[in-house]
């Protein structure tokens, strides 16, 4: 078990390494000049060349990549003369001088956005709580709704409750998330005025406004995902309810409640757990559309904005972060699977 986790974590780092190389090389082959993108309308050839040097873009590709990698645990000082083999974090004599920028490795340096004039790590740290709150609230809401509807539909299979639930699910499942989000905004903010227009503040500053801001994003996610989860749960329940061991449970004289919740649900829930893990991880990487519609300053909005501005350091960081979450979630799901199903042996 411990060996398994160690192996998986090592594999995770290998995968992130490969991914970082792929993402990094994509920017090398892009036709756009990254140095030019740092200054926008105020660009002059002199500024472009200065920024090219400050970013280290005048170095060979492998040098750039090596600096990026080493910078993750060690931190970087821009502009850099040659590869930084010494860690600014651990070596106090390496302090940024006038006109230099320190990208602290606390915990990791993922680059410096000249466009925003900020360390990428700081930007991610600011955006993460927003995305995290969005994802957690969404998951809880859609699980409650999706599972209950799914179970109800399975138990009332073929009757009006089942047909109604599945029609609504198909409805929710078919609409794009921006459409659902906009409709919700229109109804509850503009028409009914039950909620103020969403405007993010940290929870510690104004819990009421924080909650009001998140209600519609949560509901949007819940509508989208609950539909999928209701269908998944229903199909899983129907499958397990037809299993021989369910007949055994009934033959033992167990009350129907026990048969359904302890025997059928327990056996049918595994694929749901997998889906939750992966969907949650994908959301942590940024719920781009929902964050955009409700102007939540989360990872998704950060990724989208930086893509529109071609801010390479942020794009690289957000892609790696999203990949990191997905890989970690996969590991957790596999461990959970072994816990849920005693037949699964981790080797």
């Amino acid at each position: 078990m411990f060996g398994y986790i160690v192996r998986r974590v090592l594999a995770m780092f290998a995968m992130l390494l490969v991914l970082s190389f792929v993402v990094f090389s994509m920017f090398a082959v892009l036709p756009a000049d990254p140095a030019r993108l740092t200054c926008g309308k105020g660009c002059t050839p002199a500024i472009i060349e200065a920024n090219r040097h400050r970013l280290g873009l005048d170095q060979p590709f492998m040098t750039q990549y090596a600096r990026f990698l080493i910078g993750i645990p060690c931190g970087r000082i821009y502009p850099t003369q040659g590869p930084v083999w010494q860690c600014p974090r651990t070596n106090s004599s390496l302090q940024p001088k006038q006109g230099e920028f320190l990208c602290p490795a606390n915990p990791v340096c993922l680059g410096y956005s000249f466009r925003k004039g900020e360390n990428v790590t700081t930007l991610l740290k600011e955006a993460m709580p927003v995305t995290f709150a969005l994802a957690v609230g969404g998951v809880i809401l859609w699980l409650i709704v999706g599972l209950s509807i799914g179970i109800l539909a399975a138990l009332r299979r073929g009757r009006w409750q089942d047909r109604t639930a599945m029609s609504i699910a198909l409805f929710g499942y078919s609409f794009p998330s921006f459409f659902i989000a906009l409709i919700l905004l229109y109804i509850f903010v503009l028409k009914l005025g039950w909620l103020p227009y969403p405007s993010y503040v940290p929870f510690s500053q104004n819990p009421k406004q924080w909650t009001e801001t998140f209600i519609l994003p949560w509901v949007s996610l819940a509508i989208l995902y609950a539909a999928f989860y209701a269908r998944l749960t229903r199909n899983q329940m129907l499958e397990t309810l037809g299993e021989d061991f369910i007949r055994t449970a009934r033959a033992k004289g167990l009350p129907e409640r026990t048969v359904i919740y302890r025997h059928a649900l327990r056996a049918g829930i595994s694929p749901v757990v997998t889906s939750v893990g992966l969907d949650f991880a994908a959301l942590l990487g940024g719920a781009i559309i929902v964050e955009q519609v409700f102007t939540l300053p989360g990872i998704g909005k950060l990724a989208l904005d930086s893509t529109l501005e071609a801010d390479l350091s942020i794009i690289t960081a957000t892609v790696l972060l999203a990949a990191f979450f997905v890989i970690i979630a996969n590991l957790i799901v596999d461990l959970l699977y072994a816990y849920l199903d005693p037949r699964v042996v981790l080797v």
Partner: protein, 360 residues
């Protein structure tokens, strides 16, 4: 024991422990009504074993599940009477049947691997079975479970009790199933193909175990099988089912000595026998079991029966034979052949006259 006759709306006249009277089960489907069980009657006392024999689709499993109340009443129409001691299970409420299920009557299923919950340990499944019917603590229930596992011949039961079903061998799993069925000392045990999924060597052990436990608990046992070898091993009485109907019913010795119905003859002829000489071939029954949606008019077995042209006036085609006593009052047969023709048929099919002390 077999006191029931076939005519409609038979009142309960016997006083056997289990009385099944005119039990019918039909499932409405999109293609038509599936008449899975058609007016099946039999009786069984405690300490006795009844075997229900037939091919797949003969209605034998549906019959047993109907007795246990495991057929969803909303999905099927069930009629007739099933008296367990003094309660009619057909008219009893769901909750009343549930309280008897696993307590007064219990069931063992064919495939122990798929019939045990894959995610729960043996201990958990046994303790649950005990505690749903007995007001005992978890540790007491666990003690009972270990005791029961010991009784069904599981070595080191105090350790195996914490195993999961997939960690046990097929024979061990079936022993666990039997232990689970017997933890509450049921008076009626229904075993649906209990040995079909097992190795031949394990089969004999499991049958022996069921017999031992029957002697100990004075259980009435219904064993459902397509294996006439199993029947010879354990049964006191045999019900042969075909197309949802009882086609022959007799005591075990009577049935093997003087089988009457051509379908029974076919089943007997298709069993390998050690006392046959030379290159004699097994004789399968030609054709396939009927669709229960469109049962043939007349005798359900007629399309596969090699003797039906011996009955005059094409009667097998037009009329459905009743289940009638012949040649002894305890022996019921659903066939239009005359007594002499049946003896002749047995001679043709089995190579012996159905009069001697023949062994299965």
């Amino acid at each position: 024991m077999t006191t029931m006759t076939d005519p409609a709306a038979t009142p309960r006249t016997g006083h056997a422990y289990l009385d099944v009277i005119d039990l019918s089960v039909a499932f409405p489907t999109e293609d038509g009504t599936v008449q899975a069980v058609n007016k099946v009657s039999f009786s069984l006392e405690r300490d006795k074993t009844l075997a229900i024999v037939g091919e797949s689709g003969s209605g034998k499993s549906v019959t047993s599940q109907a007795i246990m109340g495991l057929i969803n009443r909303k999905a099927a129409s069930i009629s007739g009477q099933v008296w367990l001691d003094d309660v009619d299970l057909i008219t009893a409420s769901d909750d009343e049947i549930r309280r008897r299920r696993g307590d007064q009557m219990a069931m063992i299923f064919q495939d122990p691997l798929s019939s045990l919950h894959p995610y729960y340990s043996v201990s958990k499944q046994l303790v649950e079975a005990i505690r749903v019917h007995q007001d005992v603590s978890k540790s007491d229930a666990r003690r009972q479970a270990i005791e029961m596992l010991d009784r069904v011949g599981i070595p080191a039961p105090d350790k195996r009790v914490d195993d999961f079903p997939h960690q046990l061998s097929g024979g061990m799993r079936q022993r666990v199933m039997i232990a689970m069925a017997l933890v509450n000392s049921p008076d009626l045990l229904i075993a649906d193909e209990p040995t079909t999924a097992l190795d031949v060597t394990v089969q004999a052990q499991i049958l022996e175990l069921i017999k031992d436990l029957q002697r100990e608990f004075h259980t009435a046992v219904v064993i459902i099988t397509h294996d006439l070898g199993v029947v010879a091993e354990v049964a006191d009485e045999v019900v042969v089912m075909y197309g949802g109907q009882v086609v022959e019913r007799a005591g075990i010795d009577e049935l093997y000595a003087a089988p009457q119905m051509p379908y029974t003859l076919g089943l007997l002829a298709s069993v390998p026998r050690m006392d046959r000489t030379g290159n004699e071939r097994l004789e399968p029954i030609p054709g396939a079991p009927p669709s229960l949606i469109n049962l043939p008019a007349g005798c359900v077995f007629r399309p596969r029966c090699t003797f039906h042209d011996q009955v005059p006036d094409d009667r097998c085609h037009r009329e459905r034979p009743d289940l009638l006593a012949a040649p002894t009052p305890e022996h019921m047969v659903r066939c239009f052949l005359s007594a002499e023709q049946r003896i002749e048929a047995a001679a043709v099919r089995l190579g012996r006259r159905p009069t001697g002390e023949a062994q299965p």
